[in-house]
């Protein structure tokens, strides 16, 4: 196949590109310039597409003897990922920018351009298994990235190659070291790549300004304080609420209402939900017959829970959870899996969480 290897400068994409070359594919390396304010040097484990990262990616491409180019996708990234991230928080939701980047940049803008230029697919260093069009969790549960790929459609997955899904991160580093790549010991990246200091709240405050509003305790119905901006809160959040309540029970964020900027908090039992409604779903393969039983993962790194999936009247999904869950935030993706211990849990598709609450039957009983 003719492949575009998306090379971030990290160890995963380096090894993915190497494995693609070694498998006999015709590979061209591409580093994506995404950041609007490019940093010269990487700061610790944060940030991406600095000049240093671009250099690291180029070094590996040169060792592999493959062509290497930098594609400037900063405008698309700003519109589709950064602006979306800010707008979602402004609307009281909690977005996942990595998922959005895979959906709109890597497997849309990059894949479309690759296909137009005569390539068959994009190879990346994502930790997920992909074979015969089936997307599954990585063998390395700590590094599994299937959650942020769950939004990809069959058409997008047909243009994706993930060589690392069947190996652990440790093995990836070994392969890099065996090949003599300096990135073998480069730290993993964490956090959000376009917030180089890691201070998401500060980033949002700079973008959105101070937007004070009330904090209301659902347990008592009373206003118990004010906040500097609803964008500083996420559903299910417990720490840093900045208010004190009469009883000693911990409080959690239950809801964010962007127009009145009201942040509602409540007790643990009030924060738990057992029904989730999503927007229009996407599917990684053929549309399944509804309803069906599956597992759902409600945010990155969360443990999956059993659920019953049915179609809601608005075209979204209704997920009835087998166990009550805390911290189900609108804006996050509810990714559906068919459990498969042997070959890896199969990703079926996903819907964006619109709201979560108590199942009516439960409330009545």
């Amino acid at each position: 196949m003719r492949l575009i290897a998306a090379m971030s400068g990290g160890v995963d994409s380096a090894v993915a590109a190497a494995l693609a070359v070694e498998a006999g594919h015709d590979v061209t390396g591409v580093h994506l310039a995404l950041s609007p304010d490019r940093q010269t040097l990487r700061s610790g484990a944060r940030g991406c597409c600095s000049v240093e990262d671009s250099h690291d990616a180029r070094r590996v491409a040169d060792e592999l003897g493959i062509p290497f180019y930098v594609w400037d996708l900063a405008d698309r990234f700003r519109e589709d990922v950064i602006d979306d991230f800010v707008a979602e928080y402004a609307a009281g939701r909690t977005p996942n920018p990595c998922l959005r980047c895979n959906e709109k940049i890597k497997f849309s803008a990059v894949l479309d351009r690759a296909r137009a230029l005569g390539f068959d697919a994009v190879v990346t260093g994502h930790h997920a298994r992909l074979a015969d069009g089936e997307l599954r969790r990585s063998v390395d549960p700590a590094k599994d990235q299937s959650y942020v790929l769950g939004v990809l459609t069959a058409e997008q997955l047909a243009g994706a190659v993930f060589p690392l899904g069947s190996m652990t991160k440790e093995r990836v580093r070994e392969l890099a070291a065996e090949r003599g790549y300096a990135v073998a010991t480069k730290p993993d990246s964490h956090d959000i790549c376009f917030i180089s200091d890691g201070d998401t709240r500060g980033f949002l405050a700079r973008k959105l300004g101070e937007q004070p509003g009330p904090v209301v305790d659902a347990a008592t119905g009373q206003t118990v304080g004010t906040h500097a901006g609803a964008h500083g809160f996420t559903i299910g959040q417990r720490r840093g609420l900045g208010v004190t309540v009469g009883d000693q029970r911990p409080r959690y964020v239950l809801g964010i209402e962007p127009v009145s900027r009201t942040v509602t908090i409540g007790t643990a039992d009030q924060a738990e939900v057992d029904e989730v409604r999503t927007g229009t779903p996407t599917w990684t393969g053929p549309v399944p017959d509804l309803p069906f039983r599956a597992q759902v993962q409600l945010r990155a790194h969360a443990a999956p829970v059993a659920c019953e999936v049915s179609l809601a009247e608005d075209g979204g999904l209704c997920l009835v959870l087998g166990e009550r869950q805390r911290g189900v935030a609108p804006g996050q993706s509810a990714v559906l899996y068919a459990p498969d211990a042997e070959r890896g849990d199969l990703v079926l598709g996903q819907g964006t969480v619109m709201r979560a609450g108590e199942r009516p039957e439960t409330a009545l009983s």
């Binding site: 310039a33 930098v70 594609w71 400037d72 900063a74 351009r113 230029l117």
Partner: protein, 396 residues
Amino acid sequence: MTYLDHAATTPMLPVALAAMTEQLARVGNASSLHASGREARRVAEQSRERLAAALGARPSEVLFTGGGTEGDNLAVKGLYWARRTADQGRRRIVASPAEHHAVLDSVEWLEKHEGAEVTWLRVEPTGRVTADALADALGDGGDVALATVMWANNEIGAVSDLTALAAVAHEVAVPLHTDAVQAIGQSPLDFAASGVDALTMTGHKVGGPMGAGALLLRRDAECTPLLHGGGQERDVRSGTLDVAAIVGLAAATHATVADRAERTARVAALRDRLVAGVVTEVPDAQLNGPPLDDVVAGGPGRLPGNAHLSFPGAEGDALLMLLDARGIECSTGSACSAGVARPSHVLLAAGADPARARSSLRFSLGHTSTDADVDALLEVIGPVVERARRAGTGRR
């Protein structure tokens, strides 16, 4: 492999390679007083005389440098500092916005850190700077530290009339520097006859080694050093002379100047065929820079090996990638340090819109170019442009 990027670097001439290789095997620091040192000095000074003769300079006007970037930095900063030191009122730099970054960034650094004021010259749509534009910018020249205008543009090949520009500058007693990196061996060039005060050249654009060049500096031009130390080069530039590189530099410069007329006629004919062929294959391709048969000061108005074309609706970096995959090597304008393609500042300075600047490619021919190179490009350019257009511009 079809190499159409001679303006980036051109293969070493066999005479330069042989001379340099021979010298590399010899020991001797040209500053040493013993026999080995004297022999190294003899070879270095012979090379200085040879280089000076080829370019119409006196040997004492040749300062060996580490290449074009150093020559440009030394001339721009050194002339600025010396002139400002002599008269604090002289802080203005008059420069073309189509210069190489070695000049542009030096000028902007002086503006940011050394109190310089900058007047950017008007550039013709061809990329050329006229004597009228320079005269307008200089005014009475009383507050001007220096003017700098390149002899020939590295991207779109425009040659300016430096003799006329030097006359204008000298009327108001302003020293003129020229970056002639692309012009040596391409345009008729005589340092003394041109009247310019400082001229930058480098080895690897003329079939010599990388990392070696020269600044030709008139003996009456005051220039503050960038590199302090042993004072080897007229106390304006310090550093142990790289004798082998200097030998290669002089041999290449001598050879490229000697066969200029015959070689450039052949290369220009190839270039003309390339441009005509590309326009046949891609009828809406646009030539950037001066017309192919342009004349300035009795010589070619465009570098003989330069073809710079825009392909509307296609991105330059997509074109480059597709050509690279087919074994054809050319260049887009400049890229930032991380490798992100940028619209050519030269085309923008010449008044082109950003879309035209982004859709451009430079093909540059040189002493090893053949008809087969042109044929190889013409065979693939049509389908390559068509495919790049399908990939679009990536913008909305």
